[in-house]
Symmetry: C2
Subunit: 136 residues, 2 copies
């Protein structure tokens, strides 16, 4: 992972609108980003901003409907959900992860929350869910 | 949070010995640190090393007995558990977090995994569990 950085940590909530004020207060930030609707993943996502200095971003994720990819996780209580690493070579990184034993969850697709940059998801045998974001 | 950095992300597993090989393979690291036994929290903890460059550390946490602070979380499936921020002024930071509405979970105490540096725990209304580590 020599070229990559931890871009954000995803936290699943029932409602971004309801959770945002508490997260902003706790992190001492003014606001969240625009709330993006990702129809491919059937989620809403938003980021605390400005990003806490020296730290990775906090992403709030909420289901957009009962068939959302995070609905099951929310029903178990929600909370810390995934780590997202930003990488230069997304396809090469995914091949490497597969060779190391990770399972593909979602193949690379453009993500509205990242200006169309591609994201992909893998999960490890120990059930660590990892998102990879192609560097812009 | 101007002076602080995300020090590590904690991931709860049933057994560090069993989980470590898979985590090391996935992250492409050689080994984990010494496994520390923290009798105050009744957990075992270890860190992937070397730390992935440009990223925060990954901490594996496992219960040390059925009365462990992470036993309940493990019984719900384990996984991503907490964020740990390293701060210069631990006591001031905790006062600030309380003023912002966070609940104290554990007051500052020395932690064997950090050479006796003090750690403390808070939880937010949205159930984000945050550890603060006093800068060395």
């Amino acid at each position: 992972m020599s070229d990559e950085t931890l871009h954000h940590v995803g936290f699943v909530v029932a409602s971004i609108e309801n959770a945002a004020p508490g997260f902003c207060r706790i992190y001492g930030v003014q606001e969240i980003s625009k709330i993006y609707h990702d129809p491919l993943q059937r989620v809403y996502v938003a980021f605390l901003q400005p990003q806490p200095p020296g730290s990775c971003q906090i992403e709030l994720v909420a289901p957009a409907g009962p068939d959302s990819t995070v609905q099951g996780f929310l029903e178990k209580g929600g909370g810390l959900h995934h780590l997202c690493y930003e990488v230069s070579d997304l396809d090469g990184r995914l091949n490497e992860m597969r060779a190391r034993g990770a399972m593909m969850v979602r193949k690379p697709k453009p993500a509205v929350a990242f200006g169309g940059r591609r994201i992909a998801w893998v999960v490890t045998a120990e059930k660590l869910l990892i998102e990879f974001l192609e560097r812009g």
